[in-house]
Amino acid sequence: MGVGDYIWMGILAVFQGPEAFSLFGIGISITVLMVLAGFLLGIIVGATPGLAGPMAMAISLPILISAFGFSPDALLPVMGFLIGVMKGATVGGAVPAILFNTPGTPDAYMTTLDGYPMTRAGQARKALKLAHVSSASGDTFSDIVLILCAPFLAVLVEAYLDLPEKTALLILSLAFISSVIGGSVGKGLISMGLGLLAVYIGTGEEFYPRLSFGTQALAQGFPVATAVLGVLILGEVFRALEDLWHERRATAAAAEPAQTGDQHLHWADIRRIAPYIARSAVIGTVIGALPGIGSTLAATLGYSSGARRHARKRPQAVQFGEGAPEGIAATEAANSSVSGANLIPVLSLGIPGNAAAVFLILAAESIGGFNPGPGVFKFTAETVNPELVAAFGLFTMMMLANAMNWTIGGAFMRMAGVMVRVPKPILLPAVLLLTLTAIYVQEGRMLAIWFAIGFGVLGYLMRRVGMSPLPFVIAFILGGKLEDTARQAFAATGGDAWFLFTHPIAALFMALAVLFVALSLRKPSEAQR
């Protein structure tokens, strides 16, 4: 089994999976169909202000699992759908930003700066096409980097990191994530600490369920879906509902400027924006590869770096913020190129860097048979490593989604403009109901709903005090692994309590963890986000 065989098997796994229907005698696999469905849903969700990709991923995951089951066959269709949503939402976010000056996803805020002026100037269609090309290029570039880097990083990790080092690496990631997300290191650390506290209830190696107050309800611990969906989705819905309550703003219909002039995207346009796309794609990919930083910062950096270049090189052209096509390109390429690179730490280390990655890990964990982490990339010679096939299947699906993006994404995206008219007073309760249903479907007991609502209230409070819920969620996902690895490292070193400091690489990671927190403490808070 060479690398080529594995790649080929991964591709076959996607295209020759269980057949949905056949078209002209050619079987269309259910996986391909699910990627397409996810992608289209993602564009719609991205184009709807108030909804975001992770929300749709969260709600659809339990429903998909109950439809496809836990068999190994379920992995690719379910992951395909989620990847489709992730990619679709990235493109879709630009639509309302350009057409109505309302970002569909938070990372599309910078797109409004040049997108809406272009709409007012009667160039809406052209702006959408620009956004699409930039977004698709950034995304594709990022995926290629992922496919090239993740396996090597994983092999390196497996070759050089022993249990103590792996423990230290997890601590380093958690420290890094809590110091870079949100405006304050203190709040980030509290959020992470709460996540660890929650995940350690009822779990552990002892037969006696710890921290459960002797109750059977807590003895099994919190199901991961209730914590993640509660804090991320319900918390957001509660906050948005309260905002709505306060605002009750008159929703005046946005005026639609008449669209005139040449709406085509010419080669000359593409040549003009290409350098901006390239620069932003690199920025977004680098940012994306670091867990926890996210697409909003990438968009901001991409935009500001593009703005500086533009002002220097073409002072006579339309400047950023006044409807410059280059501005849209710089932003969209940057925020889209985060999504692929974000999976580098997921696939090579098992560490999620953003909400979308959290749901991909959750899907893999719920279905089983695929454990994101360095173990995936074991190139076995004699027997087939099914996880590696799944990994290449994943890459295939990402490239497939990119192909869909390039071909039909643009046209579909331009139709999604209507989504901005969906009224929030209807949208939010629907999301609430769907989330609770999804949790009940997965857990099958009423207690799970109460847990989820409890976590929802926690998520709401965190948002109210300006604390990012993401460190909480990532800590909840990694907490079990951290404890397991630490216990194993302790046992493997023959009961050495200082294993984190006596191994050079582990000690280095620990020092870096302290350094990150210390450095972030010194930084003025506005520079962090």
Binding site: F70, P72, F207, K378, T383, G444, R487, A491, A492
Partner: protein, 316 residues
């Protein structure tokens, strides 16, 4: 002798249930919730789901599998205890759950609080290492340890940790015993080099056949089917063993009619050649072992009573 008795018991059990199934026509009053105490995707989980699939195909009963993992099956035990006992809720555990783990958990329950339905397969518990280590038998491991090499020993339950400790003690060496969740995690650890050797209950069969892994010793009271020449724990000076079975249980007080009908359905599913569960069990665990009803109940209560002995031996 024991092997023969077991086979005889299986045959008898099968025959008895085959006739009783004809006599009673119990059918579940609704879909059966099948709790599974093992991580989704592992060997035991796959086995449980395949059994459900085979019964569904043959009898049309409906199963709803549900993961209730953790605490060596104790989470499942505590959850299933108060479920309806009309045959609509069953759970897959290992006999260790009702024995050592229930004893160690000290959670106020004992095997009599459950209905023992049927075992499905015995462990093929080997002590396994990667063949690239160059070890041929357990004596090589002991030699390496005596030569000053630190040996990491992977286990998946406290009972096995006790056994690994006693094994080291009997051989005059000390192992660094690493406890992980499930046999698959032990196998991954051994393959990745995080552990030097470890207990695996049957998941190693494929790797051993391919020559990537080697059974250094049997963790059972008898030799392994795949590697009969490997020494048993008794040969290595340990008087305890890890004999055990995968098994289905239910809440206490399940009507005998329901219990026997389910046991028969399970026995039939795993013993019918060509069935998915039969194929899987034969490949990984050397074939089905059915100990059902009262015989299983008696065995579980005996295991529970005997668990204390190993615990005190290991804590000396």
């Amino acid at each position: 002798m024991k092997q023969f008795l077991k086979a005889a018991a299986t045959a008898l059990g099968l025959a008895a249930f085959a006739t009783s199934a004809i006599a009673s026509d119990w059918t579940p009053p609704g879909p059966i919730k099948m709790m599974i105490a093992f991580t989704a995707g592992g060997g035991a989980d796959t086995q449980a789901r395949l059994v459900a699939e085979d019964i569904e195909a043959k009898l049309g009963w409906q199963f709803i599998p549900e993961q209730v993992t953790g605490k060596g099956g104790m989470n499942l035990a505590m959850a299933i205890k108060d479920q309806p006992n009309d045959g609509t809720v069953i759970g897959m555990v290992v006999t260790e759950t009702l024995g050592y783990n229930m004893r160690a958990a000290n959670a106020g329950v004992e095997p009599s609080d459950f209905t023992a339905i049927s075992t499905t397969a015995g462990f093929q518990m080997g002590i396994v290492s990667q063949s690239s280590k160059g070890w041929k038998t357990f004596a090589d491991v002991v030699e390496a340890a005596k030569g000053g090499q630190e040996i990491r020993f992977g286990v998946m339950s406290p009972k096995l940790a006790d056994l690994a400790y006693l094994l080291g003690k009997a051989q005059g060496v000390e192992f660094n015993i690493i406890q992980v969740k499930g046999g698959k995690a032990v196998m991954n650890g051994v393959m990745a080099g995080d552990m030097d050797l470890g207990f695996m209950a049957g998941i190693q069969a494929k790797g051993v056949a391919a020559g990537d892994l080697v059974n250094l010793a049997s963790g059972l009271s008898e030799p392994l089917k795949q590697t009969p020449e490997a020494p048993t724990l008794a040969d290595l000076g340990v008087q305890y063993n890890s004999d055990g079975y995968f098994a289905f249980i239910g809440p206490a007080g399940m009507p005998a009619e329901a219990r026997d009908a389910i046991a028969t359905a399970i026995a039939d599913a795993i013993s019918t050649e060509g069935n998915k569960s039969n194929g899987m069990i034969t490949k990984a665990f050397g074939g089905p072992v059915v100990i059902a009803g009262d015989a299983f109940q008696v065995m579980a209560e005996k295991d529970f009573a005997a668990a204390g002995e190993l615990m005190s031996a290991a804590s000396e």
